[in-house]
Amino acid sequence: MSHAITRLPDEQIAPLIAHYDAAVRARRRHTLIVFGVIAVCIVLAAWMGEVKPSVFFAHADRLPNYFWSITPVLHWDTLGADLSEWYWNLDHWLKLLVDTIMIAYLGTLIGAIGGFCLCFLASANLVKSPFIRLAARRFLEFCRTVPELVFALLFVVAFGLGPLPGVLALAIHTMGALGKLFAEVVENIDMKPVEGATASGASWLTTVRFAVVPQVLSNFASYGLLRFEINVREASIMGFVGAGGIGQDLVEAIRKFYYSDVSAILLLIIAAVMIIDLVTEQVRHRLLGFGAQR
């Protein structure tokens, strides 16, 4: 009993295959066109961007050089002394690291609250009025398009030096970026609960509160956490407005070629990124109910 299927005679198969192939061919043509366009874009961009792979491969051996040069020499027998020499400024750097994280935290928090409030107004499935929706969308777009640099500069002039302009600039950018992502999440929700709430007489606000927020909260949190990590790194470029943070010291070390400082600070930042990644991964998995999924 080897066969579980009675094969149709070829005459009968042929038209079925033909029909299938015709349908697939249309789709494939579509795909080919897309790939064709992408290929053309690549060629154009490579020309514009002066891409020379041969140069890259000819000198690829220089890739690790920088890392070699910043690696300090540690001797086993004087390890303690060498380490404390390497991390001579640890207290200060740790304080800067905390500053950086706080700047990122405040920026993320304020931005996320703003994005949270605006994203519902920007969602096509919740707001019928195209005017409100477009206004919200354009505003979010504006917030994330104008570079942080510009905002930071304006705020420095307005609010004076210190971390405030940095935090505000980060917050505005975060609001724009998160607002867009949040709105996309909201547009992908299951509308059945929304209908359920509406049908029982809930107002717009309560519908959002009960039928939408519970559905999106975990996604929002995971986007927010991701943004936090990005902002921790971004907060470093806020240094130029006097916002301080570890990034400023790192850039100074790079520019003044204090090699051992570069590696010391770099390791601190990498450690911070790893810790944040580990923590956010845990939180995300808990939110996704990853453990429960079997």
């Binding site: 000198h59 220089r62 920088y66 001579w88 400024n89 207290d91 200060h92 420095v156 002039v157 004076g160 030096l161 240094g239 130029f240 407005v241 006097g242 400023q248 100074e252 790079i254 520019r255 003044k256 070629f257 204090y258």
Partner: protein, 280 residues
């Protein structure tokens, strides 16, 4: 003897836009065309926003000629880049440098640095020659420890920010760059409607800081280097337009220079480097 042409089919000329420069591409392109013609090799202009990139590029031999700020050139020498300064910018009055000045508000009572004890001081950023290194060096010479003498020492982030900080009262005094009565950061801010020149008063002016040099790789063939120098110093005769385009008539022709002239700046950098580990 021109076998270097095979080895250098293209020369890269790197520029870091100075603090007060705009339209760098437009202004330097004629110079590239001129050099290409004079050297018979294509000279490509690259503008980098960070001199660390230029220094690394020169160390790797990817950048053949570069213009530097004085401090960053000194830094390049200190990190072992094999480069030689060969030309220096000259001001209209024939001097070859600029100054770091200390501004206070015109209506404030401060007359000298001593009056500023316990007040807030704005520096520019830790990398700025006129906005940080020279001031610290000078204060040190006066026997003052900035972090003890002043109430607070703040990095403003840019020369403009430093001026604004004084205007707003965040700082009582700020260091800034200053060429002469005609050209300084404050003058430029006045032209843009951001500050009034007469609102401020200078209470200290530093020694001359040597102007920016042009430097090339030491390992290049000597006849190539000679050709480059020739091209630079004969530009006034061969292509005055190209030169004027760069400085808009605010500078005299380049003059020869060598690394010797920057020893003092290297000293300055070393002084600042030493400060760092003592500071905390």
């Amino acid at each position: 003897a021109q076998d270097w042409k095979a080895k250098y089919p293209e020369l890269v000329f790197a520029i870091i836009p100075a603090e007060n420069a705009s339209g760098v591409t437009e202004r330097f392109q004629p110079l590239m065309d001129y050099l290409s013609k004079q050297l018979g090799t294509k000279v490509t202009l690259r503008i980098a926003n960070d001199y660390a990139a230029v220094i690394e590029g020169q160390r790797a031999g990817n950048i053949h000629i570069a213009s530097y700020g004085p401090s960053s050139f000194a830094r390049a020498l200190m990190t072992g880049a094999k480069i030689d300064a060969f030309a220096i910018e000259v001001n209209l009055d024939g001097t070859k440098g600029y100054h770091s000045v200390l501004y206070v508000k015109a209506d404030s009572p401060y007359k000298s640095i001593e009056d500023l004890k316990g007040k807030n001081l704005c520096l520019v950023d830790p990398n700025s020659t006129s906005g940080n290194n020279v001031p610290r060096f000078a204060l040190n010479k006066m026997g003052l420890k900035p972090d003890e003498f002043f109430g607070k020492v703040v990095y403003a982030g840019s020369h403009e920010n430093a001026v604004i900080a004084v205007q707003q009262g965040t700082c009582d005094a700020a260091f800034n760059w200053w060429n002469d009565e005609q050209e300084s950061n404050l003058k430029r801010m006045e032209r843009k409607g951001m500050a009034k020149y007469d609102d401020f008063r200078i209470i200290y002016k530093s020694d001359l800081i040597v102007n920016s040099p042009y430097a090339y790789l030491s390992d290049m063939p000597s006849d190539l280097k000679a050709k480059i120098r020739d091209a630079f110093f004969s530009i006034q005769q061969n292509d005055k337009g190209a030169f004027d385009k760069i400085y808009e008539g605010k500078q005299q022709p380049w003059q020869p220079i060598d690394n010797e002239a920057y020893v003092q700046i290297i000293e300055l950098n070393k002084f600042v480097d030493d400060l760092r580990k003592k500071k905390n």
